[in-house]
Amino acid sequence: MAFTAPKETYSGKVYPVTIGTGDKAVTFGGENVLPFHSFEGITPSRPVIAIEIQDVPPADWPDTVRKPYDAVSSDPVTWAKFCQDELKAKALALRLVGTHPDRENRSPADAVKTVKDVLAAVQVPLIILGSNHAEKDTSVLVAVAEAAKDKNCIIGKAQEANYKTIAAASMANNHKLIAMSELDINLSKQLNILITQMGFDKEKIITDPMCSALGYGIEYTYSVMERIRLAALTQNDVTMQQPLLGDVGMYVWKIKEASAPEADLPQWGALEERGIAWEAETATALLIAGAGLLIMRHPRAIKEVENLIDELV
């Protein structure tokens, strides 16, 4: 008896989002099926991995992920060029972590200079992230959005506490916007609605339902992403059809598994491979759940996730 393939047709689709300008621009999203289900619909773009860099040297990153950048990370411009030219990054994510009041407390003007210098040095699309300090981010992100005007960047992250100013700045300067809420599909939907009510184009939003690392709550991120995708596709919910972001590196490289030496925990195996595997496996799970954009740190983890994507598309 021949097998009758129970294929699904979905009523909704995910908005395609293009970032950057010129021939280095990249597009993700656009599919009208669950992740990698090209057998029953269209999947026009592959997920994009952006390599994360910072405005200040990554002194707080564990050795495994700091070492590959030791020669370049003292200066964001050198770091950015290294990622673009040597690592063949398709996009960069510049995290302005040094602007955080508890860190270097760099000023919005400092951040503007960093962003302008990086934009002048590289051609690949840029994601510009604040330090996740709701109040400071408003002043920093407003300034950098203007400095990057018309470069078609992604500005992030807009949260419930500060979305108005950040979304307005992003809109005025023709950027895309990351809308982040904390691991709850309803909060995520609510934030998207609030942002679009300001007149912000719903097709220019990227949803960040908040990442978590493997072993540290990834099942919550996984299921929230999966539910958002199902709402977008099966219920044609236009407030849930934005591509999803997995901000993987930041969450993985602070946990114990990424830094505990093998000497202390012999049953956990080699430290370097373990940290890399942790980042790559976290990214894999989120790709399967529906992430269209990933932010990652370790070159080897990124390379292998790209190889996996090659097999999946």
């Binding site: 021949a2 009758t4 393939a5 691991l183 978590s212 195996g269 799970a285 097999e311 999946l312 598309v313």
Partner: protein, 445 residues
């Protein structure tokens, strides 16, 4: 597919004889539909109706156990496509391939790796579950010799024998006759012989097909030979095809009641690059594989995969909990701060993560509140001054700290007065409401 009460009623004698204990046949049918009664309670039902009901009430994916004893692996019984709907039931089993071209020493080494792979994580024992001995040499004697080494060195580990050659299969499977091995390799040209060997040795039969149509034909054919315990390989090897086939098989079984594919799935993920192999295995864990065969099992890879499997297979309806104890973040000294929070895993992950971010070594007292977050636990009367006081006193943390100061979550500031009364000699400090302000809080102390 489950039948409705009315559909079942049509198959019953409709005599309302009450011998089953129900007042009417319809009432009995309703109980059957809800699985609160067994058809055996009806003395007059026809054999044919029994057969239809039996097939209809069987789970959509057949439950199968392979291996024996403590390390036996349960597979199948899944009921949903997405983990948020209902808990995934039987976690994917990890198997490592041992080629029969390896030397005895090399085989023994892998056996030992499998035995040593067991670790404990969040209270669960996790391990590489099985060994697949594959007949890559094509030689029956070599397969048997390799199987003998495995039987001696890893006696308790469930085994998969991989060969398409019936005589080789028979010799190797016999070595595990009382241990319920899987015999993998029944295809269109050897199905009858392989089915006979599986049947004679009480083995589970692995069906090796080339595409979903052939798979469906083969399982029907093999069932005709009287073998019912099967695991399925559609022939998919590339990640894209594995997602497609695993998804279609799972959907067909669960949503369409397709019995021909209502069996656990085995996927082969061997790759030259161990990390890539680990990522593919992750895809299999998320997307419906019951057994995943790998070529290597390094400890770092195992840890990541065990963790992913545990995370994907947790019950989404039960809040995940962490163990009640005093956690050390960094290397706390006697004068380091002491925080308290509840044992909802997300609460723990977020609070401990932010304390880590602050770079201030600390103690974090995690109290068992049945997996509720701070405010919910407080509202439910599980995170009260007297319970916190009792936990702190019984934990013995007092003798490890220089200053008896406890930092309370800002949301339950209301408890601080009562807590100071219940914990004489302790200073209660109200900490931040949200975890993300912990670094700032610690910095200003």
């Amino acid at each position: 597919m489950a039948l409705s009460g009315v559909e079942i009623f049509k198959l019953l004698p409709k005599t309302n004889c009450k011998k089953c204990g129900s007042p009417t046949c319809l009432a009995f049918a309703m109980k059957l539909a809800q699985r609160q009664a067994s058809i055996d309670a009806c003395p007059d039902v026809s054999e044919e109706a029994k057969k239809i009901l039996g097939e209809a009430s069987a789970p959509p994916i057949r439950p199968i156990t392979f291996g024996a004893g403590e390390k036996a692996v349960k597979m199948g019984e899944e009921t949903v496509l997405f983990r948020h709907d209902k808990k995934f039931v039987n976690p994917s089993a990890f198997a490592v391939e041992i080629k029969d071209t390896l030397s005895e020493d090399e085989i023994a080494k892998v056996c030992q790796q499998v035995i040593d792979s067991e670790i404990d994580r969040v209270g669960q024992k996790l391990r590489v579950d099985a060994i697949m001995i594959s007949n890559v040499s094509g030689d029956a004697g070599k397969l048997e010799a390799a199987a003998k080494v495995v039987a001696a060195k890893a006696a308790a580990v469930p085994v998969i024998i991989s060969t398409t050659n019936p005589p080789a299969a028979e010799a190797a499977v016999k070595l595990f006759a009382d241990k319920r091995p899987i015999l993998y390799g029944a295809n269109t040209s050897n199905a009858d012989a392989m089915a006979a060997i599986a049947k004679a040795n009480k083995a589970v039969l692995g069906v090796a097909a080339n595409g979903l149509d052939e798979l469906s034909d083969l399982t029907e054919k093999i069932k005709g030979f009287g073998v019912e315990d099967l695991v399925l390989d559609s022939g998919a090897r590339k990640a894209k095809e594995i997602i497609e086939h695993n998804t279609l098989i799972r959907r067909a079984a669960i949503k369409k009641g397709n019995k021909a594919v209502g069996y656990p799935v085995i996927n082969f993920m061997q790759r030259e690059d161990s990390l890539l192999e680990g990522l593919l295995t992750g895809v299999g864990v998320a997307k419906y594989a019951s057994i995943i065969v790998m070529s290597s099992i390094e400890k770092w890879k195992n840890l990541a995969l065990f963790t992913l499997r545990q995370n994907i297979y947790t019950d989404p309806q039960v809040p995940m909990q962490v163990e009640q104890k005093i956690y050390h973040i960094g290397e706390p000294k006697p004068e380091s701060p002491l925080f308290i929070t509840t044992n909802f895993s997300l609460t723990y992950f977020i609070v401990s993560g932010e304390i880590e971010n602050s770079k201030v070594a600390s103690r974090l007292a995690v109290m068992d509140c049945e997996g509720l977050s701070v405010l919910t636990a407080w509202a439910a009367g599980k995170f009260t001054a007297s319970k916190i006081a009792q936990f702190i006193q019984e934990s013995g943390v007092e003798k490890d700290v220089a200053n008896k100061e406890l930092i309370l979550p800002g949301y339950v500031a209301i408890l601080s007065g009562a807590l100071e009364e219940k914990l004489p000699g302790w200073k209660i400090t109200v900490g931040p409401r949200e975890a993300n302000t912990i670094p700032a809080f610690l910095k200003t102390r």
